[in-house]
Symmetry: C2
């Protein structure tokens, strides 16, 4: 028997409609790419999004078409989002940090019809323009006065397009399962793969994000998403904030410590979210200037693990609650957030940090478990670590055009590629990437834990651990370190330092010293390159075992 | 083009599954009907719900069957809920305050297969047992030691049934649109009508309820739903609390001020929800004993309008935030909640109360507008009042078996039967029931506002206003008042008191004095009975106009 409730589709348009009616006066403040601070409201964003939809319709964009954006977090980007999605097209966010070949691949693979971008990215788009023949036109997110010179053809000025319309537009009649967003993930192997979000997945994710124990936005909040809209939906904030009626503060292109601090301060931001590198810059600025953050309540840190010292500094020196988060593009992106459970607030500071360094608890609508290599579920004891598996309405079922094949197991679980522990209170901690785990004699060794231990050595700048083939143990860890300038640590001193801090059988079999460890564009260690470089490396213990 | 996200149905089982895995240790504390305080956890509730489902299956209950409950808020009621819904059956909550004939009608109309009820309701069920031939058996929510004597046939002891099972049960494979809950509304005319909730509507409503600006439960919270589970889903709390991992404190059958205070105090309740009458009893108890409420942060008040003095007392004397709410069975039930917007917290106390007496803002997923008699939308200026219309995924589309016919307009809006204003900041205020509004010369007069003004008179206990047919104005207001004991207010003194407090043309055309005003079982004024009583009443002004 079916229930007798209304068939009310979960669409992102319903979010901006809600914001218009119940929070029409609430501000969206932007540091524009052109420079000045710009202030608008949800009512005006709603109006200009409708006008955007009208303009795109006139340009020939149809329901289901792909329209790409390459833009910083600004009010215009938000208008473009809701305009594209509101007409039933799909907003494909392009990451400007990608290499030209990757951009070409992605734009052609997605079959983007138009690209909407900031003035700062004119050179990036010009560099690929000849390789993307299906793109019919280019829309630059600025006004007439700031339109740049460009050799691109079929170029439009966003404000001109918008201002030519009357806003008399009804949102497209879409099914909640229709696609509305697209974001590619760049795996370490193979081509980037597209995650195709639906209206439903975005709405459910925004609802989960607004739960009091997640990002938990209220209408009195001012939220600054430093995490970019081109990076996995800005962690749901551009959907969650209008649903809650929170003020949004958009940092535009300026993410340095001084610029971020200025907005936090002048706009009285209460909640903000970004990756650790942004916070390093902000904390550096605060230390230098002695500035404080009286309005800020909560900082959400994700993208990569927040260092303990960063959490400590925010909480102790600035009285800001750190909420550690974990997610990935395939999860829309949030999976876990680190809100305390009952009693934790009363723990001693160091015990609290022990919990805060974990990645947090799954939000409701995200199912989560850890398994061994055979798919058997492992205990949630905070010790056992295994493949982190997830299910949920905002988790990818497959990639665009079937790239990568079947990505769910027979019970519908998605393998995140991460290795993690789950503790009895539900807190998850990432211990490694599955492909980086060292498998020694059937047991797993966490490369990340070895690296974190090694960098505690006073003469080490950075450390990486990879598995090296071993005749007896399958793999054994090799520690690769970059010494601090003008120091000469020895293998013996490094191993002596690590002894007692980790299990005996986890001790690296060898230590090599290098000048530099290779990194990806987003600052992560390129383990693939290291494995390639050391593929013929022979451990001393291997010779002994042979 | 469809999105490529997981097909993860929104089921209430996913809520209790989440609670089991991430909040398995969190407590559900009950003042049992038998007397003692009982403590259990979400992990145990999950286990006993599965056992309940097994037991019901053995008794012949099938997916889609109706199983009724008539029970106070207790852990056993919660186990029964999740057991019934988890096996794909529909949990039909019976209101024990209904008359026997209404119960008979409802149980037969719903085609209930079993009735699960507290020991306190044995006489109520016995009284109707002979009139409900389709009911196959009766399950009493207690243990063997407390099983009462009863003349009912096919009686089972809930704990016996549960304890005979092993819990090895997989939740039913349901569609998210399948029915899972049923609650009848008792309209003022005609038979009660059944609202049939789906898994989807309950899940979406719980997500909306957990938004930080709504009830906003966090895992550190302890929530006491005084509002009964048999009354419109206990305002979503039995779904929202396990989704958030909040502790639940169940008051059982004792709703007097002393009992409620004791639980608030000993269990350190942070959030609670009930109708105004419950809070009157609690405030009376606090005043008498001088007790305070240091742990309590938030009290949600709905069901009927919270008096200004009650809000004032909670906020000023007990430092408890009052959140005024409005909803109805057809809305699952919540429509609005009164969280402040930016800047309101800094207003003077009296200005804050002006906002708090309003019913609040629509939660995201509830669309809301006000219209005139022709369906034309009225301005949101806080002055114009009209029919309050709603849409949303947790709003009824029709009643069980089509009772009452088509209940949505052609655009899918549900007419709440309330008359309200909407102000520019989105706050809604109920001004009347549509059928109680006095229509005078094409304009509307709010009966509630006249009543509220009249009871300010020092010699009036209670007041009711109804419309009396008038040859010139269609209708004019008649004020019916109950004088305070040993006072003799006059028509002239009452009208003089009201003058200047309301618009001139709103002034009642006549005042009559009565010993008593008739009330419904839930304490509301029976305007229908008053209209019947005064149907031949002739206003002095009518004679003049003829």
């Amino acid at each position: 028997m079916k229930g007798l409730m209304q068939d009310w589709p979960l669409t992102v348009m319903s979010i901006i409609d809600h914001a218009k009616r119940f929070h029409g006066e609430r501000e969206v403040v932007t540091r524009t790419v052109e420079g000045p601070i710009h202030r608008t409201t949800y009512a005006d964003i709603h109006l200009r999004a409708r006008k955007t939809a009208q303009a795109l319709t006139k340009l020939g964009v149809k329901q289901g078409d792909m329209v790409a954006t390459m833009a910083w977090n600004t009010y215009r980007h938000m208008e473009a989002w809701y305009g594209i999605m509101g007409m039933g097209a799909v907003c494909h966010t392009l990451n400007p940090r990608l290499f030209a070949e990757q951009l070409t691949y992605i734009i052609n693979h997605a079959e983007d019809k138009f690209i909407i971008f900031d003035t700062s990215f004119v050179p990036v788009i010009e560099a690929v323009a000849d390789t993307i023949p299906n793109v019919k036109g280019f829309i630059i997110l600025t006004d007439k006065a700031h339109m740049p010179e460009t050799k691109l053809k079929n170029v439009y000025c966003f404000d001109d397009l918008v201002e030519a319309e009357d806003g008399n537009f009804d949102w497209a009649d879409v099914d909640e399962n229709d696609a509305c967003g697209l974001c590619y993930t760049s795996g370490t192997t193979g081509n980037p793969k597209g995650v195709l979000y639906s209206h439903r997945s975005n709405v459910l994710h925004a609802l989960a994000a607004n739960s009091a124990d997640a990002i938990g936005l209220r209408s009195v909040d001012a939220i600054m998403p430093v995490v970019p809209m081109f990076h996995a939906n800005a962690w749901a904030i551009t959907f969650a904030a209008p649903a809650a009626g929170a003020k949004i503060v958009m940092p535009g292109a300026q993410m340095d410590g001084a610029s971020i601090y200025e907005l936090l301060d002048t706009e009285q931001v209460t909640t903000t979210a970004a990756v650790p590198t942004v916070w390093l810059m902000l904390l550096g600025h605060l230390e230098k200037t002695g500035a404080k953050l009286p309005a800020l309540n909560k900082v959400v840190i994700g993208g990569s693990a927040a260092p303990r010292s960063m959490i400590e500094t925010f909480e102790r020196d600035y009285d800001v609650t750190v909420m550690h988060a974990w997610g990935m593009t395939e999860l829309s992106p949030m999976g876990t957030l680190g809100a305390f459970k009952a009693g934790m607030e009363d723990l001693p500071f160091e015990k609290k940090l022990d919990i805060k360094v974990k990645q947090g608890r799954a939000i409701y609508t995200v199912e989560m478990k850890i398994t061994d290599d055979d798919g058997k579920e492992l205990p949630n004891d905070g010790v056992a670590f295994g493949h982190l598996m997830v299910r949920g309405p905002a988790v990818a079922a497959s990639y665009l055009k079937g790239e990568g094949g079947q990505i769910l197991d027979e019970d519908g679980w998605f393998d995140t590629g991460d290795v993690a522990t789950l503790d009895p209170l539900g807190f998850m901690q990432i211990t490694d990437r599955a492909k980086d785990v060292i498998k020694s004699g059937g047991e797993w060794i966490s490369s990340i834990e070895l690296e974190n231990t090694a960098v505690g050595h006073p003469e080490i700048v950075e450390a990486a651990v990879i598995g090296i083939v071993h005749p007896k143990w399958d793999e054994r860890p090799l520690l690769i370190v970059v010494p601090k300038p003008d120091t000469k640590p020895t293998k013996e001193s490094v191993l002596a330092f690590m002894e007692g801090k980790i299990a005996k059988w986890w001790m690296p079999d060898d230590v090599v010293f290098v000048d530099e460890i290779p990194h990806t564009a987003t600052g992560k260690i390129q383990k693939l390159a290291l494995r390639e470089k050391f593929k013929d490396y022979k451990l001393p213990s291997a010779s002994a075992a042979e």
